[in-house]
Amino acid sequence: MFEAILLTVSMAATPLLLAAIGELVVERSGVLNLGVEGMMIMGAVTGFGVALTTGNPFLGALAAIIVGALFSLLFAFLTLTLVTNQVATGLALTLLGLGLSGMIGESFVGQPGVRLQRLDVPFLSELPIVGRLIFSQDLIFYVSVFLTVAVAWFLFYTKAGLTLRSVGDNHASAHALGIKVIRIRYMAVLFGGACAGLAGAHLSLVYVPQWVENMTAGRGWIALALVVFASWRPLRVLAGAYLFGAVSIGQLHAQALGIGIPSQLLSALPYIATIVVLVLISRNRRLTMVNTPASLGRPFVPDR
């Protein structure tokens, strides 16, 4: 029972973790992409559709990654090449993604989905408790954990990561040093899009193998909040994602037990928790000042 709950927590946490880790890299490069929700839902509908037509959920996940990245390219072109307002463009991406996915997915509604199979790691999956929890999950779970560690290593232990952070902290100086600011930001945004796409695929291939309109239900926004909550640190994103996974699963169990609190108020809990957590983190101005990428959301036009 306890083990099963922990498993569902990790299932709820994985899409949040993936989307947030992608957005973290984007924001570390100084770009604020509020289109996570839109990229995620595009990934969800693509993953579901491709898995349904080909019968292969791996192809679905792969297609979701590609579509998420392509969709983020739209954002990158507008904000980086045409220097549009990042907040407004991100909102546009979300609105467009929600609309487009509803249109694309109309014929998928009510179709039984294809579930991404669990992959057992030989031997390790037979360990007590941790075996089932950590070594007998779906592929996307492994990817999410691997990416978190990889991003942490990349950002803080490689030269390329340092370059990316310098672009996010002071694009003018980075540019003066000959760093290709725009190119690095393009790559960061594409990475964020790919992660959000895969996060969406996790929803429609693992979490609830189904297509429902607006099925992301604000998870893209919660992922954005997680990045702030984690003060732009990858391992804290991991902790935050599992905390939120626990809150959303906890409220589901509370609903099932029928503890006398209306289900709608319990369903509102993850959203309220997000606000509370944001308040607690951001009231510490020093903490946020130190960690926020200094050029976050600022437009950059190279002077030639």
Binding site: V83, A92, G99, M103, G218, W221, V228, A268, L278
Partner: protein
């Protein structure tokens, strides 16, 4: 070959005026391509989208009904966006306004006097403003990102409404349907000209609000303050304007407008509360605000256009069998074109071939 931006010495007045039209033109082209790709005749579909709803009086009334909330919310949002306050939770403020405004007719159905309606409208505005006050307060006091907090509150408001109409506010004589009792006659927003159609006074409120906020933004010190703080918070500080107070002001104005839109929709168009009372007006209004270039008068025109897409979507569904889901994709693409075209106001775009680069650098 790549694009390069050259900053204009001044904003281009020509493109400030032209950019919404270029954007709309591009949207039409993109829409036609989309319709063709879905196997529909693009010209015929565009006709049903943009012309057919304008050909009959009753559908002009429907246009006013759909445009009213969009314009009301968007003019409020223009104050927020101009002052760089990103309130994207108007949908939640719309719902809370509708709920607060419905307290009298739902809980006190026997309280029937002429002044019930004005009270409802005031309570609706107060409800929307109070709900918008939460992210504003959190931003000022705790430095909390208002984008995320205002958006999260949308989900909370939707769930709260759902709980109300299924639980404590459910119509006792309603056969267990999730809806409140029908509003009595004194709680119904009257129709403007009931002989020809069912457009209600919400549209008049929208026009009045647009005029008032246009005057405020372009002719008063307060409007100047809004724009200065939005463009340069530092300059605003030197001028003695309080950024914190502006956050609260902008959120209260936009919350009140969204709340008024909510109660007008409920008491004018629906006549009761239901689990869902808005087809995403609060989000579509963001598109309206930008398409209207954050100018209240431009927003009136933009609100009518977006309202037309809702009606056109219905018309196209009936006549050429195009799914109504296409509408939202179409609306989403408008905002992209608007934002892309706005670049032309501040920059000239030139194509650069790699070989020419050295030459350009010398200019």
């Amino acid at each position: 070959m790549r694009l390069e931006l050259v900053k204009r010495p001044q904003q281009s007045t020509l493109f400030s005026a032209l950019s919404p039209f270029i954007a709309f033109g591009l949207t039409i082209v993109a829409g036609a391509t989309l319709f063709a790709a879905l196997g529909k005749d693009p010209v015929e579909t565009l006709y049903y989208y943009f012309i057919d709803p304008l050909t009959e009086t009753w559908s002009l009334h429907e246009l006013a009904i759909k445009a009213a909330p969009l314009i009301l919310i968007a003019v409020g949002l223009s104050v927020c966006f101009l002052s760089s306050n990103w309130n994207i939770g108007a949908e939640g403020q719309f719902i809370m306004g509708a709920i607060a405004g419905s307290i009298l007719p739902v809980l006190f159905p026997d309280f029937q006097f002429w002044f019930v309606l004005p009270l409802m409208l005031i309570m609706g505005m107060a409800g929307g403003a109070a709900y918008a006050f939460i992210p504003a307060l959190l931003k000022v006091r705790f430095n909390t990102n208002e984008i995320l907090s205002s958006l999260m509150l949308v989900y909370v408001a939707q769930l709260f409404l759902d709980w109300l109409v299924r639980g404590p506010w459910r119509n006792p004589e309603g056969f267990n349907f999730p809806e409140t009792r029908n509003f009595h006659e004194y709680a119904i927003l009257p129709e403007i000209w009931s002989a020809s159609g069912r457009a209600h006074w919400g549209f008049v409120f929208a026009i009045v609000a647009a005029l008032v906020l246009w005057f405020m933004l372009s002719k008063t010190i307060k409007g100047f303050e809004v724009k200065v703080i939005g463009q340069s918070p530092r300059a605003g500080r030197f001028a003695g304007f309080s950024a914190g107070r502006m956050v609260v002001f902008a959120f209260l104005v936009s919350g009140a407008m969204a709340g008024l839109a909510g109660i007008s929709e409920v008491s004018g168009a629906i006549g009761q509360l239901r689990p869902t009372i808005s087809p995403g007006y609060g989000f579509t209004a963001i598109i309206v605000a930008f398409l209207g270039r954050l100018n209240p008068l431009g927003i009136v025109a933009a609100g009518l256009i977006l309202a037309l897409t809702y009606l056109g979507g219905e018309a196209a569904q009936i006549s050429v069998g195009l799914s109504d889901k296409v509408v939202r994709a179409f609306q989403g693409s408008i905002l992209f074109f608007v934002l892309a075209c706005d670049t032309l106001i501040h920059y000239r775009i030139r194509m650069v071939r790699p070989a020419q680069k050295a030459e350009v650098a010398n200019v």
